[in-house]
Amino acid sequence: MYRNFKEIEKKARKLGPKPVAVLFPDSSDVMLAVFEGADQGLIEPILVGNQAKIEASAHKIDINPNSFEIINEKDPQKAADVCIDMARTGRVCFVVKGNIITSYLYRSLIRYTKANAPDQVPCTLCFHQADNIEKVFIITDPGVNIHPDVLIKRKILKNAVNAQHRMGCKNPKIMIISSDHIGSFKSEIQKDADILQDLIEEKKMGACQICSTQTLHAEFPDHRIKTDNFPDIFLVPNIDTGNILVKSIDHLGGGIRQCVTVGGEITVLTPSRSDSSTDRIINLSLGIILSEQGGM
C-alpha cells in the first residue's frame, strides 16, 4: 500500500520503462512530460496524432521529435481508436491522454469494453493524496457514468477494488458515500448502498470490506480522521458529485489528484489538460504501477 505519490514514483522507476501510447502530445507540458518520462526510464512513448503539430511542439521546447516513434493520425477519434487498439494487442501497456478532450478516449474505451468485455464497465478512478491521511485513496466515478444504477455501481466498484489490489492494498475499505438527508426516508442512493453492502459482506466483490456508515461524520463523529479507519475507496452517487468532489480536493482542499480511466483490461491515463509536466510524471508512475501484472 502506498502512503503517497512519492512512494509510487519511486516504485515506478524500478518497474519502467513501459511502452505507452500518447494521444495528441501537442502541447509543451505534455511533450515535456513525455521527454522527461522517457529520460527517467519510466516510459518508451509512441506518439499518436497530427505529426506536424507534434514535431512543432517538440521543437518549441528543444526536443528532437525523431527520438520517438510517431503515428500520424490527424482525426482525434481515429487516433484514440489507434491508441486503444495498441493497448488491446499488448503493443503498449497503457494509453496517455495528451492535449485533447477526454471524450474521444472515453468513446473508444466504451466501444471496446462493450464489444470485448461486456461484463465490465469503463469508469474513471481518481487517486488522491491528502496531507493528514497516510494513504492514497480512490474516488469513483467522476468521469464516465452519469447516473449509474446499482448494477453499474457494482462494476465500478470492482474496477476500484482491482486497482487497490494492484496498489498493494489487499482488503480495501469502501464507503458508499452519501449526503445527509433530512427526514427518515431512504434515498435511492442509500438503497443502492444497502444492496452493495450485502454483496460485499457476502464476499461477492472480491477481497474488500465496507463501512457500515455512508457519511464522514457518521464514520468519524469526533471530527478526527484516522488513516487506519479511513476508506480506501469512495463510491460517489453520480458524475456531478464525483467530478466536483475530485477537483475540489486539489483546488479547495490542497490535496493531490491523479486520474485514470479503466475498462476491458485497458488502462488510460486521463490527466487534466491543465496539468503540469510534473503532475504528468506522477500520472505516468501511477500508470506503471497499475499496468504491472498485465494491465487492469
Binding site: 461524520h217 453520480n238 491543465s274
Partner: protein, 289 residues
C-alpha cells in the same frame, strides 16, 4: 468591505445591535456555550425555551419551562414570528417537521429554503459560499433561482457586492444528457439578461475552470467568474454535501453556515460543521437579522 476569513464575522457582528436569540431544542452544550459567548461578545441576548435547559450552569430565565423540546421549539418559532425575538437557534437535529414549522407560519412560506456554508478559500483567502449543502435534494431551475436569490443577501452582509456565482457541473460544455449543464446554461443566460439580481452567474463550469481563469480560458470560457468565485452553486445535495464533508473532515477546513429563505434568521445544527462553528453561525444570523 469584504471579509477575508470567517473569524472576521464575529468582529462584524459586534458592530451590530444586540439581537434577541430564542434557543430551543436539546441542551447541546456547544450551542449553549456559543450563545452565552455571543452575549459576552455583545451581539446576542439569549432566551432559553423548554425544560431541556433547566439544568444550565449559568443562571438563566427559562421560558416555557414545563415544555418538552419539540413543544418548546414550536413556541420559540412563534416568538420569532411575533417579533418577540430576532433569531431562532434550534439546537436539535434538523428535521422536515422543523422546516415545515419554521417556514409554514410566515410570509416567506412560498420561498425556497436552502443552507449555505461559508469558508475561507485557501487560494484567494477570502470568504466563499457553498450552497445548497443540506436542504434541497434535486433542485430544479426554479429552486436554483430561489437559492441564488437567498444567497445574494448573505454575500452582501459579508461585504461581497454583486457576487460572482459559479453554476457547477462536471463539464464546461452543455450536454443534454447531464441536467446540471443544462440548468447552469439557463441560469447563466438569465444572468446575462439581468434576471438574477445583483450577481454574475456563469456556467456550466467544472470546478477546475471555476477555480482557475487560465484553465477556463484553455477550455474557451471567457468570463470574469473563473478564478474569482464568491458563491459555488452546486447541482444537487449529493455534490454539495459530500464536497463539504471532505472539506470539513478530511481537510479540516472551518465551515460555518446559515439556513436561508425562512424569512427569519435561523441557526441550526449541521453535522458538516465542527462544534466551534456555533458562534460563527450565530454571528451570521445576527448580520442577517
Amino acid at each position: 468591505m469584504e471579509l477575508f476569513c470567517i473569524e472576521n464575522i464575529l468582529n462584524l457582528a459586534q458592530r451590530k445591535k444586540r439581537k434577541k436569540i430564542v434557543v430551543a431544542g436539546k441542551n447541546n452544550s456547544f450551542a449553549v456555550d456559543a450563545v452565552l459567548q455571543s452575549r459576552e461578545m455583545g451581539f446576542g441576548d439569549p432566551m432559553f425555551c423548554g425544560k431541556e435547559f433547566s439544568g444550565l450552569k449559568t443562571k438563566e430565565t427559562i421560558l416555557f419551562d414545563n415544555s418538552a423540546a419539540t413543544h418548546a421549539l414550536g413556541k420559540a418559532v412563534g416568538m420569532v414570528n411575533d417579533g418577540e425575538a430576532d433569531i431562532l437557534l434550534n439546537t436539535d437535529s434538523l428535521t422536515s417537521e422543523f422546516l415545515d414549522l419554521a417556514t409554514g407560519t410566515n410570509s416567506a412560506s412560498s420561498r425556497v429554503v436552502n443552507y449555505i456554508n461559508i469558508f475561507t478559500s485557501p487560494k484567494e483567502h477570502r470568504l466563499t459560499l457553498l450552497t445548497d449543502t443540506l436542504i434541497n435534494p434535486n433542485p430544479g431551475i426554479k429552486e436554483k433561482i430561489g437559492i441564488i436569490n437567498n444567497s445574494i443577501p448573505v454575500a452582501d452582509v459579508l461585504g461581497i457586492k454583486n457576487p460572482n456565482i459559479a453554476a457547477l457541473a462536471p463539464v464546461e460544455f452543455v450536454n443534454p444528457a447531464i441536467k446540471s449543464t443544462m440548468d447552469a446554461a439557463i441560469l447563466s443566460k438569465m444572468s446575462q439578461r439581468g434576471q438574477l439580481g445583483e450577481s454574475v452567474v456563469e456556467g456550466p463550469l467544472a470546478m477546475d475552470n471555476a477555480e482557475s481563469a487560465i484553465a477556463a480560458k484553455q477550455k474557451g470560457v471567457e468570463s470574469i467568474v473563473p478564478g474569482n468565485v464568491d458563491i459555488y452553486l452546486f447541482p444537487d445535495i449529493e455534490s454539495a454535501n459530500i464536497t463539504a464533508q471532505f472539506l470539513s473532515f478530511v481537510f479540516q477546513v472551518k465551515l460555518c453556515g446559515i439556513l436561508t429563505g425562512t424569512g427569519i434568521p435561523m441557526v441550526v445544527q449541521s453535522s458538516l460543521e465542527q462544534n466551534d462553528s456555533w458562534i460563527y453561525n450565530i454571528a451570521l444570523a445576527v448580520l442577517m437579522g
